[in-house]
Symmetry: C2
C-alpha cells in the first residue's frame, strides 16, 4: 500500500507531523482518547491552541472525534496508513505521560 496518492497529500501529512506539540498530542492519544481540556493541561499551551492543533490533525485524518455532552474526545484514527506505519516506533515522552497521570482531569 502506498502512503498517499500524491506528493501534495503526503507533504500535507508530514507538515501536520512537523510540529512538536502535535507529536506530543499523538503521543498522548496513543495511550488513550483525550479531551481538549486534559490536553490543554498536559501541554501547557492555551485552549484555543490545542483546538487548532486538533483541527489540523483531523483535517488529514490522523484523529477522530467523539462528542460526549460538553466534552470532545479525540482518538487516533487506526485507518490511516501513514500513522499506522509510524505508530509502532513512536517515541515515548515521559514528562507528558507523568503530567497526564497527575492531571486532575476536567470531568466532574
Amino acid at each position: 500500500m502506498v502512503l498517499a496518492p500524491s506528493f501534495d497529500g503526503l507533504s500535507e501529512d508530514f507538515k501536520v507531523l512537523s510540529d512538536k506539540t502535535r507529536l506530543r498530542i499523538i503521543g498522548l492519544l496513543r495511550l488513550k482518547e483525550q479531551c481538549v481540556c486534559d490536553l490543554t493541561e498536559v501541554l501547557q499551551i492555551s485552549q484555543p491552541g490545542v483546538s487548532q492543533h486538533m483541527r489540523r490533525l483531523k483535517q488529514v485524518g490522523f484523529v477522530k472525534e467523539r462528542k460526549d455532552g460538553q466534552w470532545v474526545y479525540y482518538s487516533l484514527n487506526t485507518e490511516h496508513p501513514l500513522l499506522m506505519l509510524l505508530l509502532p516506533q513512536w517515541p515515548a515522552h515521559p514528562e507528558d505521560e507523568e503530567r497526564l497521570l497527575q492531571s486532575k482531569g476536567c470531568r466532574v
Copy 2:
C-alpha cells in the same frame, strides 16, 4: 527501534519531509543517485533552490553526498530509520521520472 530519540528531532525530520519539492527529490534519488544539475532540470526550480533543499536533506541525514570532480552526487542514506521505514511505500511521480529520462544530463 524508535524513530528518533526525541520529538524535537522527529519534528525536524518531518519538517524536512513536509515540502513537496523535497519529496520529489527523494523520489528521484530512490531511482538512482543524482547531481544538482540534473535535479535542477527535472524539478524546474533554480539551482540555488535545489542546493538549499539538499542542504536540509543532508542536515537530517536523509541523504549522503559524493563529490566527483565538479559534480556533487546525492544519494539516499540507507542507514536512516525513518526514511527506510517510509521508502518501501513511497509514491511514484511519473512526470518527474519521465523528465529525468528525457533530460540530456549535465555531464559532458
